[in-house]
């Protein structure tokens, strides 16, 4: 049973907002929804989106979370907030008051980050909720359509989920075939003017450049292969991938920023002991290193504290605006920080043994930093791109190899998914133990 009332939450929220405003935080208005743990798991399964299209995988996600929670294997996350304007956040009814205060302060930090960090500028937070609601309706329509039906829709979504996030990662505008053609012709003509004649017949072959946006590629080159409803689902899931990529890219900074602010705000609120002590306990648990893994709260909180200490609060605001995880860690983590954070590299040996391969000493800290920069942000997801389409229609995919091998079992199954959509042969090239490998 909860030990608080809605009016208490409102009072505390007012105090939090006042402190946050004083520091110059600038966030979207926040709508808090109070719900029980069961509803919380429900919202979590759909990434907190108030409305989201249906797919069995969200049912699975629910079952897993519910099971883990009941088995005591994991607690529920304390906060769940989405990047929308207004931001929507969920407060679990059974949480104690001190925890709700912490969460609300934390949410202000997140919402400020969503609103101001440059990675999020194209996420259209004003319309995301209605966009998702609309998408849900349309997909429901395809499910109910007797000519299409749930099996086909589900299968198609299965296929696309397999390539989730294989889209434009860096916000570099993608050129369509038409645009490439126009620019090529322009180049030919310029060269012609200075007396160099290129073979025009080769032009067609040059129109598909390595394409790092699989979704956009399918939308453009699959127009004759896909039905209208499939193109629509492609578009829906493309947008969803683009919407979530900034959150993947800024996990450390976003959580770091929110933790940095809940810590500051709660300090300024001069809490009485019965709130202050449990708050400190919980805060320490949240920003503690995860043994054997990287805890984004831990690293992010450390980075912002370091910047405030060395460069001042103003610099913190700048970092939250222009950086993502990779760039911030590259610039702000030095030898003593890697050591202070106690970060190490490890290698997996036979039989699942894990052995520390480098610790942060003078010699190896740079290796660790490089390993870390590779694995954080979107670096945790391998990048696959379209190399070309062969004359017989088969699709050639390549893996952007950076020293880390693909999981072949997964890769084979994903290629099967792509084949199922593309209808022609699909081949994927990667490197395995320094040799070219074809799937």
């Amino acid at each position: 049973m909860s030990d608080w009332s809605l009016s208490q939450l409102k009072e505390w929220d007012d105090k939090i907002c006042e402190v946050a405003k004083g520091y110059g935080l600038d966030w979207f208005p926040i709508d808090y929804e109070v719900c029980d743990y069961y509803e919380m798991i429900g919202h979590m399964s759909y990434h907190g989106m108030p409305s989201h299209f249906n797919h069995w995988s969200y049912g699975k996600s629910f079952e897993r979370t519910h099971f883990m929670y009941n088995a005591g294997a994991s607690g529920l996350p304390y906060e769940l907030i989405i990047n929308s304007d207004p931001s929507i956040a969920y407060l679990m009814r059974q949480n104690e008051l001190f925890l709700q205060i912490l969460i609300m302060a934390h949410c202000v930090g997140h919402s400020d980050f969503f609103k101001n960090n440059r990675c999020f500028k194209d996420t259209d937070p004003k319309n995301v909720v209605s966009r998702m609601r609309n998408a849900k309706k349309r997909i429901q329509g395809y499910v109910e359509n007797t000519e299409i039906g749930i099996d086909k829709v589900e299968k198609f979504i299965d296929n696309l989920e397999a390539i989730a996030f294989q889209t434009n990662r860096y916000g570099i505008p993608r050129k369509s075939r038409k645009e490439i053609k126009a620019s090529e012709i322009e180049r030919y003509n310029k060269l012609k003017d200075v007396g160099i004649n290129l073979d025009q017949s080769q032009l067609e072959n040059k129109l598909l450049r390595p394409d790092y946006d699989l979704f956009a590629f399918f939308q453009e080159y699959g127009r004759n292969r896909f039905k209208d409803w499939q193109l629509d689902i492609l578009d829906i899931m493309h947008r969803e991938s683009l919407y979530f990529i900034p959150q993947i890219k800024t996990k450390i900074l976003n959580e770091g920023w929110a933790s940095f602010w809940h810590y500051k705000i709660l300090h300024d609120l001069n809490l009485e002991d019965k709130f202050h002590i449990p708050f400190l306990k919980l805060h320490n648990a949240v920003v503690r290193p995860h043994i054997g893994g990287l805890n984004p709260y831990h690293i992010g909180f450390y980075i912002f504290q370091k910047i405030e200490r060395e460069l001042g609060l103003e610099a913190c605001f700048e970092v939250r605006e222009i950086h993502d995880d990779v760039s911030a860690c590259r610039i702000f983590l030095e030898e003593e920080d890697i050591r202070e954070l106690n970060i190490f590299s490890y290698v997996r040996n036979k039989g699942g043994e894990i052995q520390i391969s480098e610790v942060a000493d003078e010699e190896d800290w740079k290796v660790i930093k490089q390993d870390m920069l590779k694995s954080i942000g979107v670096g945790s997801i391998p990048q696959i791109y379209v190399e070309r389409i062969e004359k017989d229609g088969s699709l050639i995919l390549k893996h952007e190899y950076d020293g880390r091998d693909l999981d072949l079992e997964h890769a084979e199954k994903v290629v099967d998914h792509v084949k199922d959509m593309w209808k022609d042969d699909v081949r994927l090239f990667t490197i395995l133990e320094d040799e070219v490998w074809e799937i």
Binding site: R64, Y90, A164, P289, N349, P382
Partner: protein, 389 residues
């Protein structure tokens, strides 16, 4: 500042996606059945009991980095005493050491539990299967009363008064009166209940004849029946019990263990206690015939007999065994001889399945199980379902 809402319940928003997911795991449950059955106790469970079944998750594939030999990762630690070369997770013994081990739990496989009731489990498993020659014998004197709700009546006893229906009637009448002008809602006048508003829940008592079944599980517990063999037998018996229970109202179980002599024992002893000694297959069957005569008249009971051993018998007993088995077949709805024999075991003399081959008919089946994976296909073969569904 911020807006607070107590959550407007969206009725269990993931329900339909969970249903869809459940469909997918039903298949997985069937495939993983041998992992479940070994753990469960056979007796003393009603159909409502929930059991947790580990299923291989319906895996979703994405492009991910391999976690194989030589791959690198980054981590952190709390203490400062980490050293280069230190092993922070030991090799999995099963993977590194002996080959084989627990199959199916290879790396990267997602396992999690799904909660189902035994009834649901039975439904998943047994939908496509039929009991052959299901005569549904029942003793005329035994009836079960089943109480069912059946609508509402205007007369009844006080305790069955339905407040909800009664109130609905009153509201209906009130609205009508407002419409035709006989009652003014603005006035202070009360609008009282009327005898016609009262509605009572109606309850129907149905008598249904009970169908009875008794299952005889007979097992050789002589020295040659190793733990592995008993494990296979137990798994198979569990399925048999659940299946027959699914088809009948009441099911009696009789456990008979034997070496050269048959004995009725408890479930616990049946699976756990081992005896030394030789094997007379006939002794278990004779014991069954004895018990049937005393307690389970074939005219009132549906009798199922399943005899399990590793296929060995002392040769001089074979003629007696055939004779006794003939009698058992005669009075059973269905009977089977199940030979559990993990591959590689040498059998001395003639296998029992060969001895019993001439008896094979619709009512008597011979089953051979050499490994866990055989259990489900053999089980479906027994009941004419589609194998490997």
């Amino acid at each position: 500042m911020s807006v607070f809402r107590t959550h407007k319940t969206i009725a269990d928003r993931s329900a339909s996606d969970r249903a869809r997911h459940k469909k997918k795991i039903e298949k997985a449950i069937k495939e993983g059945i041998h992992d479940i059955v070994a753990e469960e106790s056979i007796i003393g469970q009603d159909g409502k009991k929930k059991i947790r079944i580990p299923v291989r998750g319906i895996k979703q594939y994405k492009f991910v980095y391999g976690q194989g030999n030589g791959s690198k990762g980054v981590g952190s630690a709390q203490g400062k005493d980490i050293k280069k070369g230190q092993v922070i997770k030991k090799a999995d013994k099963q993977q590194a050491g002996q080959p084989g081990g627990e199959p199916g739990k290879e790396k990267g496989e997602e396992y999690y539990d799904v909660e189902v009731t035994l009834d649901e489990l039975a439904k998943y498993l047994f939908e496509d299967l039929n009991l052959p020659d299901l005569q549904k014998k029942h003793s005329d004197s035994v009836y079960a009363e089943r109480i069912k709700r059946k609508g509402y009546r205007s007369q009844g006893i006080r305790v069955r008064l339905s407040k909800k229906e009664t109130l609905k009637n009153k509201i209906r009448r009130q609205k009508k009166s407002e419409k035709i002008g006989t009652y003014d809602p603005e006035s202070d006048e009360r609008f009282p209940f009327h005898a016609d508003d009262l509605k009572y829940k109606h309850i129907d008592v149905k008598k249904k004849p009970i169908t009875n079944a008794v299952i005889f599980f007979i097992m050789d517990v002589s020295g040659s029946m190793s733990k592995a063999k008993k494990f296979l037998a137990r798994s198979f018996f569990f399925l048999l019990y659940q299946f027959i229970r699914y088809k009948y109202d009441t099911v009696d179980l009789v456990f008979i263990s034997h070496t050269t002599e048959g004995k009725e024992v408890s479930e616990d002893d049946f699976f756990k206690k081992a005896s030394t000694g030789g094997t007379y297959i006939s002794s278990g069957l004779t014991k069954e015939l004895e018990i049937v005569e005393k307690r389970y008249s074939p005219s009132a009971w549906n009798i199922y007999s399943f005899h399990c051993s590793d296929g060995e018998n002392w040769r001089e007993d074979n003629p007696k065994a055939i004779d006794a088995m003939k009698k058992v077949i005669g009075l059973s709805q269905m009977s089977a001889y199940i030979q559990v024999n993990p591959a590689g075991d040498h059998i001395y003399g003639q296998e029992m399945t060969e001895v019993f081959t001439p008896l094979e008919c619709d009512k008597f089946k011979l089953i051979k199980i050499t490994e866990k994976e055989d259990i489900w296909p053999q089980f479906t073969k027994l009941f004419g379902g589609k194998a490997n569904v």
